[in-house]
């Protein structure tokens, strides 16, 4: 197998992951709930949801992190999408619908759920990783000889 990664990338990935784990822990410690981004965005969209303002605060924190990142690390703004705009729109619809139907995404199932050894989250994580892997294979290696 071909592996494309250097030592600096390995460190950044692990450090970034540790920060994500710390953020999820801060959220659990203060709010008492898993920091699943799709569920929190879902709460923010739901009129009359009791946690709506907190959900907005969390989403606001994510957006401000991005704003600051874009200002201090301009290269982040130059990151190119891997799909066309119509494909991004279709993907967004599927990600929005699927994460609500499946009760979670990479953070809710992949980080928070696996951290408490939830079998549901393990099944969900294996499912979305496998399906995304098959999709990726079809897109990258399956084209009409291109």
């Amino acid at each position: 197998m071909n592996v494309a990664m250097d030592a600096a990338g390995f460190l950044r990935a692990a450090l970034g992951g540790a920060l994500i784990g710390a953020a999820a822990s801060l959220y659990l410690l203060t709010r008492g709930a898993p920091a699943g981004v799709s569920s929190i965005v879902g709460d923010a969209l739901e009129k009359g949801s009791p946690g709506r303002r907190d959900a907005f605060a969390f989403v606001g924190g994510l957006v401000v992190a991005g704003l600051l990142g874009g200002i201090f690390v301009p290269s982040l703004r130059a990151v190119a999408p891997v799909a066309s705009l119509p494909a991004l729109a279709v993907a967004g619809l599927l990600v929005g619908f699927g994460t609500r139907l499946g009760s979670g995404c990479t953070s809710g199932h992949g980080v928070c759920g696996l951290s408490r050894f939830s079998l549901r989250s393990l099944i969900a994580t294996l499912t979305f990783m496998f399906v995304a892997g098959v999709m990726t294979y079809a897109i990258v290696h399956g084209g009409n000889g291109s």
Binding site: V3, A33, G61, G96
Partner: protein, 140 residues
Amino acid sequence: MSRIATFAAGLLFGVGLLVSGMTDPNRVRGFLDVAGAWDPSLAFVMGGALLVHAAAYRWITRLGRPLLADRFHIPTRTSIDGRLVAGAAIFGVGWGLSGICPGPAVVNLGVGASGAAIFALAGVVGMLAYSAWASRSGAG
């Protein structure tokens, strides 16, 4: 107080995503494309997050109650049902197509990354479509 803590958690989560490189869909695709030049970054991101959070989870849930809420709201469902698997599979199709999952989608809105707005808007439409469908079918 609760809002400030929640905002701080979101900010830290976003910084973690940016540091990890996972807001770049090219890196996510590099991970998902195991048949190409495989980029294992995402596995290290999840490993780092799980090491920290699995340990903290055990400590925090022993406190009896969270600091700024009445009680813990930990999901209690254990059923492996069609909704869980179908939802994860639909999400997987979208994730594979775009290399973007919900956390990076929101952070990239702030970054102003190309295509971020259209993805986020479509994501919101998808979530609202789910809510409408769930309330109509009585499932949610």
